[in-house]
């Protein structure tokens, strides 16, 4: 009988998993460079489109439609958040698939721990990697497009991101369960990263959506995250007028999403182990 792992052991699993993946990705410096490039190029497209189509009235039109005239910063915040969301889906949602492909899944199942600690390690790794990429991209992008990256309430913006990350990872755990079931991980992750980007209003306020779609968008934690950051830095306006009310909603997501994600993931895993085996792909 193996004794229940102590909290210290569980923490060491999280750290070891994150460290292993960090070590792995440090071998691919080109990939790390691309990750910083993506949000800048991604934001550049609507910025240049706006400059060309809006002309001299671009700022005034943008202010009327979004609540801020600073459209480069608005787009950069959207694209930097996009990279955080995308990473969460690729790294956490794709996690089981990654282990299957590298042939390490069996070894993980042989250890006397719950997979949830491995998943938490992957989430920590995803958070570190995406926060670094997103922040560096935002800084460089700000320099390129002539934006002050330190405007507004930076600490509050950071709070929205950090609190929003946890429900986001909970969501991706649910998504990981779907990937395990359907198996076509690449297609699903690709679809999901764009769908979530659309729903969270990566380059526009979600108020442009029709009512039903707006309701759906508001059910996604990234929507609150990106709007919170934009409101803190650019003053576009919180959904509930006050920052603490929006943050409270994110806290609500924080309590529900991880538990729900774990429950769905565990249920799906158990089901698949009984039927066809997790090792099959």
């Amino acid at each position: 009988m193996i004794a229940e792992a102590s909290l210290g052991s569980k923490l060491s699993i999280i750290l070891a998993t994150a460290r292993m993946r960090m070590l792995n990705v440090s071998r691919y410096k080109g990939q790390l460079f691309v990750e910083i490039l993506i949000p800048i190029v991604f934001a550049a497209m609507p910025i240049l489109l706006g400059r060309a189509t809006g002309g001299a009235a671009a700022e005034a039109n943008f202010l009327r439609n979004t609540g801020t005239a600073n459209y480069p910063a608005f787009m950069l915040i959207g694209s930097s958040t996009f990279i955080i969301v995308t990473f969460a889906f690729w790294l956490v949602g794709y996690w089981i698939r990654f282990e299957q492909e590298t042939g390490t899944l069996e070894a993980i199942y042989l250890t006397p721990t719950s997979r949830v600690w491995n998943a938490a390690g992957i989430a920590l790794y995803s958070a570190i990697r995406s926060l670094i990429s997103g922040s560096v991209a935002y800084m460089i992008g700000s320099l390129i497009f002539g934006v002050n990256p330190f405007q507004g309430q930076l600490l509050l913006a950071l709070a929205f991101i950090l609190i929003g990350l946890i429900p986001l990872f909970g969501m991706t755990l649910m998504f990981g369960a779907l990937v395990m079931k359907v198996k076509e991980a690449n297609s699903l992750v690709n679809l999901m990263q764009w769908t979530v980007s659309l729903l969270m209003g990566v380059f526009f306020p979600v108020s442009v959506f029709p009512p039903l779609m707006r309701l759906l968008a508001l059910a996604f934690p990234p929507t609150w995250m990106v709007n919170g950051v934009r409101s803190a830095l650019l003053g576009v306006g919180y959904f509930f007028e006050e920052w603490y009310l929006d943050l409270a909603v994110l806290w609500g997501f924080l309590l529900i999403a991880p538990l729900l994600g774990f429950w769905v993931f565990s249920g799906m895993e158990r089901n698949i182990r009984r039927r066809e085996g997790v090792g099959e792909y």
Partner: protein
Amino acid sequence: MAIQEAASPNRLTGAAALFSSLLAMARKEFTIMTRYPVEFVASFGQVFAIVAIFTLAGLTFASPSGEGGNFGGVIIYGFILFMFLSDTLWTIGYNIRREQKQGTLEALYLSPASKFASLVSRVSNNLIWTSLLSLAGVGLMTALVGKLPFANPGLGLYLLGMSLSGTFGIGFAFAAITLRVKETGETLANVLQFVLLILCANFFPFGALPAGLRAISHAIPLAYGVDAFRSTLMGYPEGFPELAPIGVEIVIITLFGLLMPLIGFWAYRVAEDHERRSGGLSEY
């Protein structure tokens, strides 16, 4: 006797043999594609999401009267070319890598099938699929911003064909690079795609680019493809085409479409020859 007949030079070379191997290889790729039905649905959903994101982003710059210039046509026609470029740029090299990883590359080289057909077959199915996705994208854009400008479809198709032929050439050349740099090829393709996305101005007019970048765009034939294709389909509104008069752009794109596949395939054969001599073809 039968073996001799099957191996007779007439059956192994010539247009019929090329076409037959292309068809067989494309069929094999199609069979693989059908094994992943979620991919079909997901790629449609992805196109819808991307088009919607950029359309809604464009609308945030629209004036109260709803005027936002020609941004609908600029985005969608640029996006169509971008999708085809993505197909051809990396897919050929990626598939060569896949054959290496699966261990089936050696078997392909044992067969007397045309290497050209082998390369083209990697993207032939994708091109059909991308065409359908493009139509879906146009449909969605029309639903979002109203009727899109659609003029000169014949010339537009010609420009698309020639641009596509040119990007095939880039794809061949990129497959050659992939043979040399192996796994780094994916990162290189990503960087190249992003750089081209900006320099070829797929999602915005060239006029938005800073002067220095616009000068580089003038040196990229594909940029003329994007400019001529969307300007032609939009019926040459004021200020379009932006890089050169349409007659000059047509000549550049035609030369690009005719010469680039030859140059690209030549580069591929040189890289392949080098890898075979150094023993690196089966290494990955």
